[in-house]
Point group: C2
Chain length 260, copies 2
């Protein structure tokens, strides 16, 4: 089975290239500070970036790579030639050594080499995958003992609904109420949504399933962060901030390969 | 601070005594088989039961205690004299040795003895507690290294909403849709609901907070089960079964005290 290559679909890519996290880079990804905080010190480490998109580590290096950046080598994998082209160009323009890219489908990526990486990273990619159990086992094998798997996904509460979207209703007290119309939480599998383009295909999994996949592969869970904006972090986006208190959008996870 | 002693409130207790899990015992608690599966072999073990209610371990022993029952000693703690009176009577009538009971408030329970228990168990009690962080640290101290903390709580998705309850709407296709009106997920704290009596006080915490409390105390998370009915398990309660697929009600957790 192969992935939907939505990032190489013209209408989707044109829209994606215009959203905050594309235009502003790391500064446009509100969950990045907390995701970065889950990464170990990267100095001298070998890193694999699954679904690297425009290239997180290149962007991070360009921004000065504070607080532990500076990996010895980063290998980015993505399915989208659009994304990789831009990542390669930016990496080359920045004169960055040690960052390589590869076009491949995470559904079928071999990951055959054992104990190669110190860190495997993935931002908002794994919820597209049907064959996530296979990938998690592969990541475990590819990590050195004590190595960390740090990733974000769309939160299970966010992926679950058959009709996602904040609903606003007028309460009896005249006040506006906002809720998230959660349904089908326990029915895992395909969700087709219209986000930037029609017919984007995602895979809904429960929190229990994400955790179970990690534990079964031999990981120890060491962080499970349901991101939300702290103390007016999104004060310039008040509507968004209000909606983020209703339900979690991002789930940030760190799991460590146990030393045997 | 002390707990609301809702189980000693006459109207609540009269109603509680009539629900399935009171009348039918373990057979009326649909999550029990999966919660039991999280317990290690109890033979010869010392067990602490926090919020023991009518006495899970007495009931389990009476039912034949299959699959690993038969603890050497069980100490049950509950705030409700109503519950404890019934638990003590049933234990005594059954001629069971080794099960003791104590009336105490989990909000202030000392748990001062270190490395006393092999297993600490709790069924649907911890979501009432304001001082859960204190209790989790106490449980960690009271367990022997390698010992297990096995508990169920009302699931964070279940405790979150300001107005809990399945909502049914007619879709444009004429079909009935059911959803759970999730809101305030990221706002932790008091929830006052009307369940069996008016004004039942619970504490909402996110999944991330439950996991974080365990990890910070020094536990390793080894199971995180968002219970739902499998394969017509509740076929005699089809309405309930349908609602349980919409959102999780119970969260079942096992955490192990790491050997230093």
């Amino acid at each position: 089975m192969s992935s939907q290559n939505i990032y190489d679909q013209a209408d989707f890519f044109a829209n994606y290239a215009g959203i905050d996290r594309s235009v502003l880079g790391l500064a446009g990804a509100p969950e990045w500070p907390r995701l970065r905080a889950l990464l170990p010190d990267l100095a001298g480490r070998r890193v694999l970036d699954l679904g690297c998109g425009f290239g997180w580590f290149c962007r991070w290096a360009r921004s000065g790579a504070p607080e532990g950046g500076g990996a010895a080598a980063v290998h980015g994998v993505d399915l989208s030639s659009n994304m990789l082209e831009r990542a390669r160009r930016m990496t080359s323009e920045s004169g960055l050594d040690g960052i390589t890219y590869e076009q491949a489908d995470l559904e079928t990526l071999p990951l055959a080499e054992a104990e190669t990486y110190d860190v495997v990273f993935s931002s908002l990619a794994l919820h597209y995958l049907v064959s996530l159990p296979r990938l998690v086992r592969g990541v475990h094998r590819a990590l050195r003992p004590g190595g960390a798997f740090v990733f974000s996904v769309e939160h299970p509460i966010f992926t679950a609904p058959s009709r996602p979207g904040i609903v606003k209703v007028q309460g009896e007290d005249g006040k506006e109420r906002r809720y998230w119309p959660l349904d089908d939480y326990q029915r895992e599998g395909l969700r087709v949504t219209d986000w930037l383009a029609e017919g984007v295909r995602k895979q809904h999994r429960t929190a229990g399933t994400y955790i179970g996949l990690l534990l079964e592969a031999g990981f120890e869970l060491t962080a499970f962060d349901e991101w939300f904006p702290r103390d007016g972090e999104l004060a310039d986006k008040q509507e968004w901030e209000r909606n983020e208190m209703v339900k979690p959008t991002f789930l940030l996870v760190r799991a460590v390969k146990k030393a045997v």
